[in-house]
Structure formats: C-alpha cells, structure tokens
C-alpha cells in the first residue's frame, strides 16, 4: 500500500481540483473549509475533497509537502492556490474562475467527490 505521503501527492497531482478540508463537502466541520468550498462552487470548480480529520498524520504530511501550515488547502492541477482567504479573494475578483477556465477549460462538469486516504 502506498504511504500517506504518496497518496497525498497522488491526489494533488491527478485531481483537477484537490481540496484538503476538515469534514466533507456535504458536512464541513470548520468555517474556513466551508468558505473555501463555497468559493470553489461559486467559481464552477469540480471538487475532490480529502478529509484530514481521520488521521493527524495527513495534515502533517500535507503541510510538509506544500509548505502551507493551515487547513484548508486548495490545489488546481497540482498547484497550491492557497487557503480560505485567498480562495475567497480570488473568487470575488473573478480570478479563481479565470484560473479554472485556463487550467480545466470553460466546459467543465462540476462534480463533487471525496477521496479517503488510508494509513499504510
């Protein structure tokens, strides 16, 4: 089985929009995770969410990889966009939609899915 770290990198590199949150898109457990999800939805993003709560190691490995200390963390095509504050600001200015249009094309399906990581 792949290590947590490998699974995290795999999600980030393969999913169009990967978002690491507390809770799930259906039931966010943190106001900031909710703010990031809203910004993504408003901007027409497909969402692949990873809940970091089941294992504290997920957050440790994620932050070690991204160099970003807080949750949520949003990646578009493998690139870290930022946390809730940046997503909100970029959604409000229209830059997030523009970035998504450029990265994923204008005609995109706005799917929402969840990926569960498993400890090795």
């Amino acid at each position: 089985m792949n290590t947590l770290s490998e699974q995290i990198k795999d999600v980030i590199s393969t999913e169009p929009v990967a978002v690491f949150i507390k809770g799930t898109p259906q039931r966010p457990m943190c106001g900031n995770s909710d703010r990031a999800l809203r910004a993504l939805r408003e901007s027409g993003a497909p969402i692949t969410a990873v809940d970091i709560l089941p294992d504290p190691q997920i957050r440790q490995e994620l932050s070690a990889f991204s160099g970003w200390p807080t949750i949520p963390q949003v990646f578009v095509k493998g690139e870290l966009i930022g946390g809730a504050d940046i997503c909100e600001a970029l959604a409000a200015s229209g830059e997030l939609r523009q970035k998504l249009d450029e990265a994923l094309g204008v005609e995109r399906v706005q799917t929402v899915k969840t990926v569960e990581l498993t400890a090795a």
Partner: protein, 78 residues
C-alpha cells in the same frame, strides 16, 4: 497574550508595516491578522500569505494559533 506575540512577530518580520491583530472569538486562539507592507508590492497573494505564515511559523506549529485568517496589502496601491 498570544495577540501581542503575533503582533510583535509581524512587526519584526515586516518593519514599518501597518499591523492589526484581531482575536476573532475572544478565546485567544482564533486570529485575523491584517498586514500592509511594501514587502507585498508586486507579489502574488499566495506569496504574500506565505510570508505571513513564515513569520508566524512557531506560533502555528506550537498551537498558539489554532485558526488564522490573513489579509495582506501592498503599499503601492494603498
């Protein structure tokens, strides 16, 4: 006080910056920080936030800051 410690670190990291620290919940661990500094001029938002996170690294790592909201602004357009 965590808020004082946050302010001191931000003022150290961004000399001459306009710094505001708000304890959002009154609980002493959810903070909103606003920093206006020439250091941010011309930098993408994510790099501006990275600088703030770096300045507060120790406080984020040891749990002093449980939740952090960041607002940054350069001085070029301010």
């Amino acid at each position: 006080m965590a808020a004082d410690s946050i302010r001191a670190r931000l003022e150290d990291a961004f000399p001459g910056a306009e710094v505001a620290v708000l304890d959002r919940t009154g609980g002493g661990d959810h903070f909103q920080v606003s920093v206006t500094s020439g250091r941010f001029d011309g930098l993408p938002l994510i790099d501006q936030h990275r600088l703030v996170n770096a300045a507060l690294e120790a406080l984020l790592a040891d749990g002093t800051i449980h939740e952090l909201r960041i607002q940054t602004k350069g001085t070029a357009t301010a």
